[in-house]
């Protein structure tokens, strides 16, 4: 085990996969000379050259469109979106090409590509540099969507995404890049589609992912062993495909469910999880499902305003306390 940052973990994944498979290359804005805004591509050009680590024009449409074409042409592109917010510029390429090509052409071609999308709030990024957009892509059939919360999964999921013969959108929270964590030595892959039960507990299931997972863990520490010990914590990790069985099994055990994500609550991943639980196992619930997510506003700039939109630890504390006390 080593203690490294989330950014370093993704860099290890890139190095290992590019060394393993000569077809893998990466392109995006400011990744070669700058090494990525978060240092997540640092040193890659020295190891693999500027052909396989490519700085691109500021042309998200072309980067994503050409990535799709390059995948059809026999390579395995990793595309960096710079900020997840810029996905809008390439939305047609994702919505109408990437998600559709395999299916609408009757399975004639595979589309092995990874779209890396740094998302979430950090350092007052304001409305166009702070969004969490995974729900948009969960809604489009034909895309896999993952969102790791720690360095170990960041590495394992990125390796899995690169090896996956289908398009994968890899959301990496900007605020997590500098976060440190234990990463195993040697080769491992984190399978896409498997949630992780981070902590077992008997009275409340909390499902989260990405940065909010770390907030939930911090809250559990604050609450102390007696309360935290009753919480079963599930890190979703993959949004599509979603490991609903792990969630359902947990809810059948704990009878209570809290879902926490940074993305807007309305129409979010939490809504999907709540609906699945209600459809398939509502009779096990002893309390209403609670969702915590951002309020339906663009992310405001001022440090005085941002916390009013983005979920805060206090909300999570109250929800956990409330659910553990509540009965229908």
């Amino acid at each position: 085990m080593r203690n490294i940052t989330f950014a370093e973990a993704t860099l290890e994944a890139m190095r290992e996969e590019m060394a393993r498979d000569a077809r893998v290359f990466v392109m995006g804005e400011d990744i070669a000379r700058q090494g990525g805004i978060f240092g997540q591509f640092k040193g890659l050009p020295d190891a693999f050259g500027l052909e396989r680590v490519r700085d691109t024009p500021i042309s998200e449409t072309a980067i994503v469109g050409a990535g799709i074409g390059a995948a059809l042409g026999g390579t395995v592109p990793v595309i960096d979106m710079h900020f997840a917010d810029f996905i809008g510029v390439a939305m047609d390429e994702i919505l109408n090409q990437m998600a559709k090509i395999r299916y609408m052409f009757g399975g004639q071609a595979n589309l092995p590509l990874v779209l890396r999308a740094p998302d979430g709030v950090t350092r007052s990024g304001a409305a166009q540099h702070s969004q969490s957009l995974e729900a948009l892509f969960m809604h489009i059939p034909g895309l896999k969507v993952v969102a790791p919360s720690n360095p170990k999964d960041a590495k394992g999921l990125l390796k899995a995404a690169i090896r996956d013969p289908n398009p994968v959108i890899y959301f990496e929270h900007k605020d997590l890049f500098r976060q440190r964590g234990e990463v195993p030595d040697g080769e491992y892959v984190t399978p896409i589609g498997e949630a992780s039960v981070v902590q077992e507990g008997g009275r409340l299931t909390v499902v989260s992912y990405s940065r909010m997972m770390t907030q939930v863990q911090a809250v559990c520490k604050q609450l102390g062993d007696e309360i935290a010990g009753q919480v079963e914590l599930i890190d979703l990790r993959s949004i599509v495909p979603m490991d609903t069985e792990t969630i359902l099994a947990s809810v059948r055990k704990t009878h209570r469910l809290l879902i926490v994500h940074e993305a807007v609550k309305r129409g979010g991943v939490g809504a999907e999880i709540a609906a699945v639980v209600a459809e398939r196992t509502i009779e096990y619930l002893d309390a209403p499902i609670v969702r915590i997510g951002a309020k339906p506003f663009p992310v405001p700039f001022s440090p005085a305003l941002e916390p009013a939109v983005i979920p805060q630890e206090r909300e999570i504390v109250e929800a956990i306390r409330g659910l553990l006390g509540a009965r229908i």
Binding site: P57, G73, N166
Partner: protein
């Protein structure tokens, strides 16, 4: 031009023409569902350009994609079956006319989004460059697509990376119902090539010899590592935007005049007979064979089974490890 090439050209152009006329008829008879856009009158462009390509080279196409697909070497039986929505079609009934594709011959798909194929072709060319496999890519698109952002981003990217790709703009004078002059800032789309530091040329898109000559320089440049080019083939959309289009936006005389004076197949025939390059027997034989071929494609499509409803749940993802 040797006789084999001329015969091949004629066969391809007639195959497209007869296929399209048959599709028109079968669509109006209610046998073919969906939206269908015909390539009638533009056959010389796909035929000339694709005759410069190897089977392993790539093309991307448009919503008006039957002609490109045939010219790249696809089987009209499986094409027709796809248009009928049958399991034996290229896309197993999941694509239809607007998403006809044959990856086996490098035809990376018709595309229902105008300009959607431009960057895909640039990307396929990038893969060829990275893998060093010598393949080139051609993107066919219309005059309307030259006004989309994908055109700007794709041509710029291809230029700065010297990608082995040829951009072929089929200027058929009509963006759906809007005339070219009302939608496009330049007289010749080819002049836009200068903005991307690549060669641009205008070809008479209804003269297969002219398209061939100009496209040959561009495919050669791509093969030699010289980078991308832009060819504008001026042509004319004989049929409406889609089958069933009432065409209230243009005069019937305009179409009749084009048919009379500027039909690419008619012009080809006149020239090869006049210059004694082919005989009318050569042509008649191909006419018969092609008619036969397309009518057996219709029979094949009609006899083929529809997919089972559960097949709608196949082909979304491929199992990991399959790449």
């Amino acid at each position: 031009m040797n006789k084999d090439t001329l015969l091949r050209w004629y066969r391809t152009m007639m195959r497209i023409r007869i296929f399209e006329e048959t599709v028109n008829e079968k669509f109006l008879a209610g046998e073919i569902p969906g939206f269908v856009h015909l390539y009638i009158g533009e056959e010389a462009v796909a035929t000339a350009v694709c005759s410069l390509l190897e089977e392993s080279d790539y093309i991307t196409s448009t919503h008006r994609g039957h002609g490109h697909t045939i010219a790249k070497g696809a089987d009209v039986k499986r094409m027709m079956a796809e248009l009928y929505g049958k399991r034996t079609g290229y896309c197993k009934g999941k694509g239809g006319s607007m998403h006809i594709a044959d990856f086996g011959v490098g035809m990376l798909g018709a595309n229902g989004v105008v300009g959607g194929g431009i960057n895909l072709a640039a990307g396929a060319a990038l893969a060829s460059q990275l893998l060093g496999n010598g393949r080139i890519a051609v993107s066919f698109f219309g005059d309307g697509a030259s006004n989309r952002g994908t055109f700007h981003e794709g041509l710029n990217l291809a230029s700065v990376w010297r990608l082995p790709v040829v951009f072929v703009c089929e200027n058929n004078q009509w963006s759906s119902t809007t005339p070219y002059r009302e939608s496009t800032s330049v007289e010749d789309i080819a002049v836009r090539a200068a903005a991307y530091s690549m060669p641009g040329a205008v070809a008479d898109g209804n003269d297969i010899f002219d398209v061939y000559e100009k496209a040959a320089q561009m495919t050669q440049r791509a093969r030699e590592g010289g980078g991308p080019s832009l060819l504008e083939a001026k042509t004319y959309r004989i049929k409406g935007h889609f089958v069933g289009d009432p065409e209230k936006y243009r005069k019937r005389e305009e179409v009749m005049e084009q048919l009379d004076r500027n039909d690419p197949i008619k012009r080809f025939v006149e020239r090869v007979l006049e210059e004694g390059l082919l005989t009318s027997e050569d042509l008649t034989r191909i006419d018969h064979e092609t008619l036969e071929e397309v009518s057996s494609a219709v029979a094949f499509a009609k006899e083929s089974p529809f997919p089972e409803p559960t097949e709608a749940y196949e082909d979304l993802f491929v199992e990991a490890g399959a790449q």
